[in-house]
């Protein structure tokens, strides 16, 4: 484990503990719909109290995976275990798992409190206990004032809160969240993300969230699994998955990345040397299983590239080109630079000052550079 990455971590990391028993386990799970394979021989371990995110584009199988845990889909092969018990064949209404639906699926003919009480009534809980639990839940999501309202009298954000309260009311062992914030506007979504994190830490329930929004996954999750075509391509905490992606797919899915094709030259004292097709040398750090002459990719995120009109003093990883596009985004400015070999490279600079003398502008000739440890090498 890389030292730098480890320092970013919180102390909660049961996935590194060999003795820890997983709370949820997918064992070689496959799901087919006719000729289509939605989930392909997938194995995954999730630990108690973890906030776990399944991230991927639509159609990658993440929702199917979650629905198999909830019981709405049966596995075609393999098994799903919860606290060591195989869930295969257990109907959804007998699973200690609750789900918050993407559409919220609030019962339109019931008031907010009836919605929240629904699962408890189903359990046969005593009336007084139901009332107490419902008011606790309303308080938890700050919806006390809306108890008597019907769902169609609520705003999108309020509905989201009711749906959350309803799925938490039964105190499930696992809460599943299917794109829970997809219907909210950006500001509200960001606020709600932090609330979700606080809630999860306070309740100590295992959360599993499905999302296609990488920022959301990185904000809320302890660990992220990136999925593609029914398989998990990488499972890691947010920092690691962003800073040390294992493939171009993961690097590209989370944030922006510049990729330069190169051949592997060798590793000396932890520094990896690559050769470009023009005969230049690129230096980076990291583990890569490659032998001399293999095709690999030099990868660097836009915010890690320095941009200047004068040639920088250190000579590593230098690119020269012309500013093609500028996007001023407020907090940062993104530049698209056309290198002399025709490749486009993105660089972004934080706008730390209000006024800049003689800022870089269109058609300026600029140098781009980065330190070896700011870049990475990808072999897949």
């Amino acid at each position: 484990m890389n030292k730098q990455v480890a320092s970013f971590r919180r102390s909660f990391q049961p996935w590194d503990d060999i003795d820890a028993t997983p709370f949820i386990e997918f064992r070689n799970v496959t799901k087919r719909y006719g000729a289509v394979t939605a989930v392909n021989d997938l194995s995954l371990k999730i630990f108690e109290r973890e906030f776990f995110a399944l991230l991927g584009p639509s159609g990658c199988g993440k929702t199917t995976l979650m629905r198999m845990l909830a019981g709405f889909e049966e596995v075609s092969a393999g098994s799903v275990l919860l606290a060591g018990n195989d869930l295969v064949g257990v109907p959804p209404y007998r699973r200690p798992v609750n789900m918050m639906f993407q559409s919220y699926a609030l019962f339109p003919h019931m008031s907010v409190e009836k919605n929240i009480a629904f699962g408890l009534k189903q359990e046969g809980m005593a009336k007084a206990d139901i009332a107490a639990r419902v008011s606790k839940m309303l308080e938890l999501v700050k919806m006390e004032a809306f108890a008597k309202r019907k769902p169609d009298q609520l705003s999108g954000g309020q509905r989201q809160r009711v749906a959350l309260a309803r799925s938490l009311a039964k105190q499930p062992k696992v809460l599943l969240l299917d794109e829970p914030l997809g219907a909210l506007d950006r500001k509200l979504r960001e606020e709600t993300q932090f609330e979700l994190v606080d809630l999860q830490e306070n309740l100590g329930i295992t959360f599993m969230i499905v999302t296609h929004d990488q920022q959301e996954a990185m904000t809320v999750a302890d660990r992220i699994a990136v999925m593609d075509h029914g398989r998990i391509v990488q499972t890691a905490p947010p920092t690691e998955i962003y800073e040390r992606p294992q493939s171009r797919y993961v690097a590209d899915f989370l944030g922006d990345i510049n990729l330069v094709e190169a051949t592997f030259a060798g590793t000396t004292k932890g520094t990896v040397s690559l050769e470009t097709s023009q005969g230049g040398t690129l230096k980076t750090v990291g583990d890569v299983s490659a032998t001399k002459g293999d095709v690999v990719w030099f990868a660097v995120r836009p915010e890690k590239l320095e941009i200047s009109r004068t040639k920088p003093a250190s000579g590593d990883n230098l690119f020269f080109g012309e500013v093609w596009d500028i996007a001023y985004l407020g907090d940062q400015t993104a530049y698209r630079v056309k290198l002399d070999n025709g490749i486009f490279v993105k660089a972004s600079v934080l706008n730390t000052r209000v006024d800049v003398d003689n800022p870089i502008t269109w058609e300026d000739r600029v140098w781009l550079s980065c330190a070896p440890d700011a870049a990475m090498v990808l072999s897949a």
Binding site: G71, F72, E73, E74, P92
Partner: protein, 272 residues
């Protein structure tokens, strides 16, 4: 899981459709019966069809019915479409409440009342009862059905289409004929077909409002049926059912084809 079509679902659908279709099928089968005794099968024959066509009273009643249906359906479609436009476009005008009430009320009005009241009007106006009075009566109740069908289509219409036409310099009337009408055309056609079959079917209102020489086919059938079931009537009914069913099937298949063609064109456009 919940999406499955359970055996219970399949059974209730099959049983429901059996209930709906077996009587009609039996009627059709027994119209080809050789025997005069309608319910005893004595071999296949089309002789009752020949007999029906040879029956002058039946044939002339059929012609009366056809004329009434054609004229009343066409007039009802024009008036009904106008009524639908009025309700959809003019959300506020004097007497709108009464107007919409009069459009919707005939849909649920018992036919005996509609028939009786129209008859009293004709008597008070000193109009002799005949084919014209039947036509006017049919226009009145079927235009409301047309209005409802067209209005449901207008309700789903994107208002900005017509506004775009106006913006591009079309007069309201031109905008209607070049934009709105082509879009609601399927509903107008469906409304015409509905009005046509309503007129074709009607017994009670015609009974009240028709006069000598204007006996419609349902009136003729009704008076014969009261005397008992005859294979000749079975044959006439089979022809009627066949005509209407094939008309409806042809219309819906054509519309379906048009939809499919449009969808394909859209897909091609999206790809290109």
């Amino acid at each position: 899981m919940n999406r499955a079509w359970s055996p219970f679902n399949v059974t209730s659908v099959v049983a429901g459709f059996a209930f709906l279709y077996i009587p009609i099928l039996l009627l059709i089968i027994y119209s080809f019966n050789e025997s005069k005794l309608v319910t005893v099968w004595a071999g296949f024959s089309v002789k009752w069809y020949a007999a029906a066509f040879a029956n002058e009273a039946l044939v002339s009643a059929a012609w009366v019915t056809l004329r009434v249906a054609l004229v009343s359906a066409t007039a009802a479609t024009i008036l009904g479409t106008l009524a639908a436009l009025a309700l959809a476009k003019f959300t506020r005008f004097r007497g709108r409440f009464l107007f919409s009430g009069m459009v919707y009320a005939p849909l649920v009005m018992p036919e005996v009342i509609t028939g009786l009241s129209l008859l009293l009007l004709f008597v008070a106006m000193n109009v002799d009862r005949g084919i014209e009075t039947v036509i006017m009566a049919h226009i009145t109740f079927s235009m409301c059905f047309v209005a409802v069908v067209v209005q449901s289509r207008l309700a789903g219409l994107d208002r900005s289409l017509e506004e775009a036409a106006l913006d591009l310099g079309a007069t309201p009337i031109r905008a209607f004929f070049s934009v709105t009408l082509p879009i609601i055309a399927p509903a107008v056609l469906a409304g015409w077909m509905l009005a046509f079959t309503l007129s074709l079917d009607d017994l009670v209102i015609a009974q009240f409002n028709s006069g000598p020489g204007a006996t419609t086919l349902p009136m003729k059938i009704f008076s014969q049926v009261r005397l008992g079931v005859t294979p000749e009537i079975n044959a006439v009914c089979t022809i009627l059912v066949g005509l209407v069913a094939s008309g409806v099937i042809i219309a819906s298949v054509t519309m379906k084809r048009r939809d499919v063609r449009r969808m394909r064109a859209e897909q091609l456009a999206a790809r290109g």
